[in-house]
Every structure is written in C-alpha cells, then in structure tokens.
Symmetry: C2
Subunit: 226 residues, 2 copies
DNA sequence: CTAATATATATACATATGTATAATAATGCC
DNA sequence: GGCATTATTATACATATGTATATATATTAG
C-alpha cells in the first residue's frame, strides 16, 4: 500500500443506470469491490492491512481484475472513507434536526452516533480507527471528513447560541474539541463489550456538556470584561 | 502479528548488571532490538506494519535470533508501549510539579507534551497512533497506559481543586476527556508541519480551559442546588 | 458473420514473510 | 584439554503478495 492515488474519481458511486456498453460487460462493479473490502474489515481488522488479493478473493474475482476498478488498495480505501463520512454526516444531521424540538441536541446526536457503532455499520470503523495509520492519502481523507464534521457542528452551535441567546466562545475550537472527543471515545468503545456503551454515552454527554458550559461561561466573562 | 503473548515479562528492562553467564554471551539485547524497532517507526511507519525480519535486519542479526528475545513482534511492541507510557508520564509529571509555582499547570503540561512530539521521541508516536490498530494485546497495552494518565491527572485535578477551593464535577470524566483530547490532537499534530504546532497548542489549551471551567461551573451549580 | 473492444482470467515471476531444523560458535565448569 | 550450555547463524520450506504478460470471453458495431 503505497501513497499514490492522486486523483481518485470523486463520483459518489450511486449505481449508474446501465449506460450503453461496447465490449464485455463488467461482472463486478466498484461498489461490489468496496463491499467486499468492507466485509473484511471489522473490530479486529483494519483496512490498511487488507491486501489486493484478499479483497479480490472476497469479491470472487481474479487478483488482476482489481486493476480494472481501482489503481490501488489505497484508492479503494480513500473512496470508502469518503463514502463513510458522507453517510455518517447525513445520519448525524438527521438526528440533529429531528432533535431540535424534542430532547437535547447533544444527547440525541451522541446517541445516533453510538447507535451507528452498535449497528456494526463498518463505515464508522473506518473513520474511527484508521485515521492514524496508513498512507498519507488515507489519513488525509479521514482528516478531511473530520473537518466536515467540525464545520457542520460549528454552524449548528452558532445557530443554537443565537437562538437561545447563550454566548459561545471560539466556536471553531469548541466544535473541534467535541468532534475529536466523540471520535476518540467512539474508537475506545469499539474495543469494549456492548454493556459498556451506555456508560460511555453518559460520560460522553457529560464531557460535551462541560465543554459547552465552559464556552458559554467564557463567553459571558469575555462580554463582561468589555 | 497474531494476538498471542499472554504473559510478557513486565520487567522494565533497565540494563541488567552483567549477571554471571554460562554458555555463549548474547551479542544483542532486548533493548537493542527495541531500539531497532523504534528506529523503523516514524511519522509514516506504524509499528504494526513492522515484520520480524525487518526488525532483525535493522538490528543486524539473523531473523531467527529474534526468538531468543521475544516470542512475537507483538510482544516487543507491547514492551515498547509500556516503556513509552512510563517515560511520557514521568516527563509530564515533572512538568506538572515544576509548574505549580510558575505558570498555568494546563499550559505547561501541554507544552511539555508537544515538546516531546517535536523532539521526535518516537515513543509518543506509539501511544498516539497505534492505539486503534494492531492486535488486542497491543491495543490493550496502549489503553492501559492512557488509563494511567487519566488516573494521575485525576488526582492532580482534585488536589488543585481543594488547593484553590474551586469545585470539580466528576473529576474522572474530566481527566478522561482531557487525556483523550490531548492524545487525539497530538496525533493530528503529528501529521502536520511544525509551523502548525503553536496554533494547535493554543487550541488545545483553550479546549482544556473550557473543560475545566465547565466542570467548575457545573460543580458550583450542583452545590447551589443542594 | 466478422472485426473491434472491453472485461476477466491463467500463468508466471520476483520478492517477502514466519518459522522449522540443523549446524556453528562462544562461554563457563570440571 | 573436554563437556555441557547457550546464542547465533545457515539453509530451507510453505505461503503470501503485487503485478507483468498473454489469453480467453462476452458484447456491440458494421
């Protein structure tokens, strides 16, 4: 797994509508390969340890056929990361908008997050644990997705601050802290039995509350000093 | 790298004082092997990707000689993790005690931490980025070291809270949040140029301040409600 | 049908890995 | 000296990997 794959097609792969072909039809698609790779990763297996042959085997194709779809295992991995990030952001986004009227935004967002963990949507595994190892392209892809999370959370926090008229001190730092904390605790949770999850959720909620109360208090003090 | 090594000798390997030998003398020591492995890891190389042969090559011994010192690459890795954790805890501990009179404990602890990053003491790399991948024994070792950090920080926070008569709400959660956040941001910093480090330190200090102010505010409110 | 073309496979090669087995080398004890 | 003991190496083997090359297969255009 070298660090090539400079220009992976960013098309988000939504089962194209059977374009007219010339030549033999593809018996397998990029998506099939990605699914096969996803199937191999898990709590005890990281994507950066998958070999080309292994993925091809899981997908039921000859090793060389892999090259028809991706240049690299790395390129596949990056595509997978992007897909995972998008999917998760959408889920969290729904949880957030759904929660505005109901319960605490914090609580329900975190619960949605941990629910994804429990559902063994391997997507999350990618974002949680693969960010620190692997090729540069790989790490970069994870980092980019995390930044998207930060940005969305940031605008959301600012919106809420205005709405409820609570101050917010350095919202970018706040959203970054929350994002990193949630992902770090999520990674920890992945290595623990499910019985421990409720406890982790509770801790996580407390942590995020502390940060939010902290930023509000700091904002209040900062306003007082002016 | 399988997940064996159930009972690695926990002796922390402080260059034994030449015990009387019978048989041929060892030309290489556990420490030499660990040093060779450490030399191979770096910002672009994770310990879980090192092969036995590669480490042996770097140490200048035949592949099979490795077995005289460790059962596994995994066992070596775990030993290395423990050593790294101990070393880092000592450094941070010194920074903390040195800082009581001088500047903020938060600021100087974080600076000591990031200084270690910059000094490219590869030790830190191990703790920062290898916690999420690798064998169970491996991940367990990292997790254990992080817990040590949490515990030490926790007692320190409580001591400070008493000393300065500020409340502290759920100190275990606070110390866990701070520890995880520092390590997560440290891992991020490792993949960025050094110019970005001051900025990251500043953000990290703000984050920790928010958490501390948050827990104090929550403690105050909780006391008021009683 | 035939040619062109896109796709998939078969075979093969150089290389890497973990480790089993046997042989060699150095040390202490008698 | 010889002998037991330990450390190290040499050789070898089964297996895995990435990928180059050549070939087979299916599909459409003409």
């Amino acid at each position: 797994m070298t660090s090539t794959s400079k220009d992976a097609p960013q098309t988000m792969a939504t089962t194209e509508p059977a374009r007219p072909h010339v030549g033999r039809r593809a018996v397998i698609s990029r998506e099939d390969l990605m699914a096969a790779a996803l199937q191999l990763v898990g709590p005890h297996r990281s994507i950066s340890t998958l070999s080309l042959r292994e993925i091809a085997r899981a997908a039921g194709i000859a090793p060389n056929s892999f090259y028809r779809h991706f240049r690299d295992v790395d390129e596949l991995a990056v595509t997978l990361i992007n897909q995972a990030g998008e999917a998760l952001r959408q889920i969290i986004g729904e949880a957030r908008t759904r929660a505005v009227a109901e319960r605490s935004v914090v609580q329900s967002s975190i619960e949605a997050f941990m629910e994804q963990l429990r559902a063994d949507q391997k997507y999350l595994h990618l974002l949680l644990r693969e960010g620190t190892v692997g090729s540069d392209a790989f790490k970069g892809a994870v980092e980019r997705q995390l930044c998207f999370f930060e940005e969305e959370l940031c605008t959301d926090l600012q919106r809420l601050a205005v709405q409820r008229d609570t101050g917010i001190y350095q919202p970018e730092v706040v959203s970054r802290a929350i994002t990193r904390l949630v992902f770090a605790m999520g990674a920890k949770a992945m290595d623990q039995p499910e019985e421990a999850h409720p406890d982790i959720i509770e801790q996580l909620v407390t942590m995020v509350r502390m940060i939010i109360i902290g930023t509000q208090t700091m904002a209040a003090k900062s306003a007082r000093d002016h």
